[in-house]
């Protein structure tokens, strides 16, 4: 039986996230696990767009979906109930800290809107020097991910992928054999 588009994206997003974790655990180059993290965030957000009726063609149009997904979470009462206590106030502090990190993750994708630092292709800077993702430190995004807001973002991603009740808020029924987080 063919899976729903939303479940298909969530399965692939989960696989990308678990790849990210594996690459980090085996000390692979930062560009590789950052790329996998970006793919996980994008596909997870697209799973939730698909649950609202977006078609495959519409979902292919843009990579800029994860920030929009995070922005919606605090507007839903059921989601707020699933969050840790300090998040349930829905005040701006915790959520505003997520946005720059989410945007930084989205900018890891090369393309028309990003001709500079990215996790996939070599790029040329303003001084015409060529940079290779494999050798790039990605210092700023690493710093953001290692701080509390970055860790909170990863927790939200984790919950978005694995939490059955969370997925149900968006109308996605996870299968009974959906693996829990390792």
């Amino acid at each position: 039986m063919t899976p729903s588009l939303s479940l298909a994206f969530l399965k692939q997003g989960r696989a990308d996230y678990e790849l990210c974790q594996h690459l980090q655990a085996t000390s692979q180059a930062r560009c590789h696990w950052l790329h996998a993290l970006q793919m996980a965030c994008e596909k997870t957000a697209k799973a939730y767009h698909a649950a609202a009726g977006s078609t495959l063609d519409e979902l292919k149009e843009s990579h800029l979906v994860f920030s929009a997904y995070l922005d919606k979470l605090k507007r839903n009462r059921a989601i707020r109930m699933l969050l840790p206590q300090e998040w349930q106030r829905a005040d701006q502090y915790y959520w505003q800290q997520l946005r720059p990190i989410a945007s930084a993750i989205e900018r890891l994708v090369p393309g028309r809107h990003n001709t500079g630092e990215n996790a996939e292709y070599p790029w040329e800077d303003a001084g015409r020097s060529i940079h290779i993702p494999l050798e790039h430190p990605f210092s700023e995004i690493i710093r953001q991910l290692n701080n509390a807001p970055g860790r909170n973002l990863i927790k939200l991603l984790n919950q978005s992928i694995y939490d059955r009740k969370w997925a149900a808020v968006f109308g996605i029924a996870l299968p009974s054999d959906w693996d829990p987080a390792p």
Partner: protein, 107 residues
């Protein structure tokens, strides 16, 4: 059960409290609809050139499914000019439009 109008107003007021960047909430649902459809104009969102909503299923916390999408003020102007399309099944025009001032109480 409350009417769509009342449910939408309740949600719009809540969202204005949560999101400082919201300037307007347009409700694309009619009385008798089975879902609330909200287009939220938000100065803090990123322009994508499209209206692509998320869906929150009905729950104990809110009795109807809610479709919700953010757009920038410039994109709202495009929606009004019909140069940005609304999602399939959405009515052409909003039933209600709320602005932040609708919920601000006199000092």
């Amino acid at each position: 059960m409350q009417s769509i109008r009342d449910l939408a107003r309740e949600l719009a007021e809540e969202h204005f409290k949560i999101e400082s960047g919201l300037t307007m909430v347009a409700v694309y649902s009619h009385d008798g609809d089975s879902a609330v459809r909200l287009l939220e104009v938000n100065t803090d969102t990123v322009a994508t050139g499209r209206v692509q909503p998320f869906l929150f299923a009905a729950s104990d916390e809110y009795p109807l499914p809610v479709y919700i999408a953010d757009i920038t003020p410039e994109e709202w102007a495009s929606v009004e000019r019909k140069t940005i399309s609304l999602p399939r099944g959405w009515p052409a025009d909003p039933l209600q439009v709320f602005r932040r001032s609708d919920f601000e109480r006199a000092a």
